[in-house]
């Protein structure tokens, strides 16, 4: 009866659990490589080492690690749980805005305090607050501090917002969507609409987040204003590497046990899982919310390195790229998402940043800034058609060979 089944699939799968790390050797490999990479970049950096890696490159690499973190979150929600969310960059952006508010407020406050302090009478708190508001919101023609900035001067408050705002948005949105049993492409469209609506809303000047100007100067860290960027960039690189490492461990643990078993079952046949007595909606909501929170944390680490955040960052296209990274890297394996996000985003910044030489064909000149998206599109189609397991699928091939 089993004649038509390919030989390799007859082999037993992994034996019963012996311990998290022994069952998931890829976690140890990943941690080792991440540690080596962090050490290497530190030693080669301008700020801490021999200066072979420029500060700008350290920032790009640190930002790439943050993109890898949101990519593994996307892999858990899509690759493992089967929810193709096209809105996770909204959570990433919200995390960035939450920390950006503190960075901008606290730094402006220091500047205002300095300039007012030069007078003979010390400034009152009201004067400082007015000065900060005029400085930050002058660009959108306002001088009043919006309500949502009330606690922007408090780092603990804004840090809690990094987690709470994406988490609560995901919880409410997910509860409404999953409760109504919206699935598949309809859910994707809904998440896309969510991120589009949020971007359009933030583009308006009167929303209290400076409209299309966004928040800027985020690379200057209040309290560390005299630390040079070359050193700060390494600190943020470390923080990003640590966050990616911890996020990887967390997700690897979440998907390895029975919970992972249940969400993969939901991906493959959610109706059947219901008849086993599992509340499918609760599981989806859990996964959607926790991945949104991790995305928010990734964003909060990314934007201080980018220096600026504006509503264009959370346009739907960003979330679509995210899905493309995970598809190219290979769904349903965390390291695949990391490979996809790192390779595609680094390639993108190389080709569009003028790093790659243009190719002169005589009749036609290939300018990479124009052709990059075509290349990415072709790459995506090729992976979907010929390598549905993505780049990560190569590891299966290697493991089988050995």
């Amino acid at each position: 009866m089993s004649m038509d089944i390919p030989r390799q699939s007859l082999a037993p799968t992994k034996p019963p659990r012996r311990g998290f790390l022994r069952d998931n050797p890829s976690v140890l490999w990943f941690m080792g490589l991440l540690g080596l990479f962090t050490l290497g970049v530190t030693v080669l950096s301008e700020g801490m080492g021999i200066g072979m890696v420029s500060t700008n490159l350290v920032k790009i690499l640190g930002m790439t690690l943050c993109l890898c973190l949101i990519a593994i979150a996307m892999d858990v929600v899509w690759g493992y749980c089967g929810i193709l969310s096209l809105g996770h960059f909204a959570f990433f952006g919200l995390g960035g805005y939450a920390i950006g508010m503190w960075l901008m407020y606290a730094r402006t406050e220091i500047v205002i305090r300095d300039s007012l302090g030069r007078g003979t009478i010390p400034p009152t708190p009201a004067e400082i607050s007015e000065g900060v508001a005029a400085q930050i919101f002058g660009v959108v023609g306002s001088s009043e501090l919006p309500l949502i900035w009330t606690f922007a001067g408090s780092l603990p408050f804004q840090l809690s917002m990094v987690v709470l705002v994406p988490g609560l948005l995901a919880l409410v949105f997910g509860w409404l969507a999953f409760r109504s049993r919206v699935t598949g492409v309809y859910l994707s469209i809904l998440t896309q609409a969510m991120t589009l609506a949020l971007a359009l809303y933030l583009f308006q000047n009167d929303t209290g987040l400076r409209g299309n100007n966004g928040l800027s100067g985020l690379q200057n860290i209040p309290g560390a204003l005299d630390v040079p960027q070359s050193v700060l960039s390494v600190w943020f690189f470390w923080a990003s590497a640590l966050a990616l490492g911890l996020g990887y461990m967390l997700f690897a643990w979440v998907v390895s046990g029975k919970f992972g078993s249940v969400i993969r079952a939901i991906r493959d046949n959610e109706a059947r899982v219901r008849f086993l007595g599992y509340n499918v909606e609760g599981y989806k909501l859990f996964v959607f919310t926790i991945t949104a929170i991790i995305s928010g944390i990734a964003g909060a680490l990314y934007y201080p390195q980018a220096g600026i955040i504006n509503p264009a960052e959370i346009a739907p296209i960003a979330s679509i790229y995210l899905a493309v990274w995970v598809a190219i890297g290979g769904r349903g394996r965390l390291y695949g998402a990391v490979i996809g996000a790192a390779s595609v985003s680094l390639l993108s910044s190389w080709l569009t940043g003028g790093g790659a030489p243009n190719i002169d064909l005589g009749l036609y000149r290939i300018v990479w800034t124009d052709w990059w998206l075509v290349l990415l599109g072709l790459g995506f189609v090729a992976v979907t058609l010929f390598f549905p397991k993505g780049i990560g699928g190569l590891f299966d091939y290697l493991v089988r060979k050995s």
Binding site: S9, L10, P12, P15, P16, F259, D268, N269, R272, F286
Partner: protein, 246 residues
């Protein structure tokens, strides 16, 4: 034998077609019951209603000693209340091992947080091995479920059903695609399960039902046409006309 499930006066219409027409049926605990009937008689729709997949237009479905209204519960709540179901087409999670399939079905807490913290205790491992033994898959525990033969998948699904430890098992065409030896094994399994639970089996194969040796309900056009022993219903002229005679 106390009544465990009582379906009374249930009707459901799909696009003007009356799939279930004022159906009343009850099953006790323990009991083994076979449900037969021509195609389109409403056998599978009946199971869909009991398990919460389909909402009827009218009627009542009451469960257990306290008469819980199943129509108010979701699919997962009904499953947790103690009703397990095996589908006509074997539906196991093919990408996962036989062990993981059984572990998911085991009667443990079903909430996301409890499942996140769950690790297989000695008791769970023993129960999984016992179930695998019972359905003849002991040497296949660590294989991908997708690598099993059709009959083995049927058994795995029966194993998962038993793992849930339900009070009522709804089994839709368990013997489809099985060899005669496998059918015999399946009959034994169901009879054994029915010693302590209520088991309802939908089947087309008369030989299989004869071997089950139990009370038979004949459905026709969404209602009960006859009920009794197999010999009794096969002698019924109406049953011969609509089902057996064809």
């Amino acid at each position: 034998m106390a009544t465990l499930l009582e379906v009374s006066g249930v009707s459901v219409t799909f696009d003007g077609f009356r799939a279930i027409n004022n159906l009343s049926i009850a099953i006790g605990e323990p009991e083994l019951r076979a449900v037969i009937g021509p195609n389109g008689a409403g056998k599978t729709t009946f199971m869909d209603i009991v398990t919460g997949k389909t909402r009827p237009d009218s009627g009542k479905v009451l469960w257990g000693e306290r008469g819980i209204d199943l129509l108010k519960l979701s699919e997962s709540q009904i499953a947790k209340a103690g009703i397990g179901r095996k589908f006509q087409k074997p539906t196991v999670f093919e990408e996962q091992s036989v062990r993981d399939n059984l572990a998911m079905a085991l009667k443990n807490k079903r909430g996301p947080f409890s499942v996140l913290m769950w690790t297989a205790g000695a008791q769970d491992v023993a129960r999984i091995e016992e179930l695998a033994e019972e359905v003849g898959l002991s040497d296949r525990l660590d294989y991908r479920a997708g690598a099993l033969s059709h009959g083995q998948k049927q058994w795995l699904e029966i194993g998962m059903l038993l793992a849930q430890d339900p009070r009522l098992l709804l089994v839709d065409e368990p013997a489809a695609g099985m060899t005669p030896a496998e059918r015999e094994h399946t009959t034994d399994l169901l009879k054994r399960a029915a010693q302590s639970r209520a088991v309802m089996v939908i089947e087309h194969d008369m030989e299989f039902i004869r071997r089950l040796d139990c009370r038979v309900t004949v459905l026709h056009e969404g209602a009960v046409l006859a009920e009794g022993s197999l010999d009794h219903v096969t002698k019924n002229q109406q049953v011969i006309d609509v089902y057996l005679g064809r």
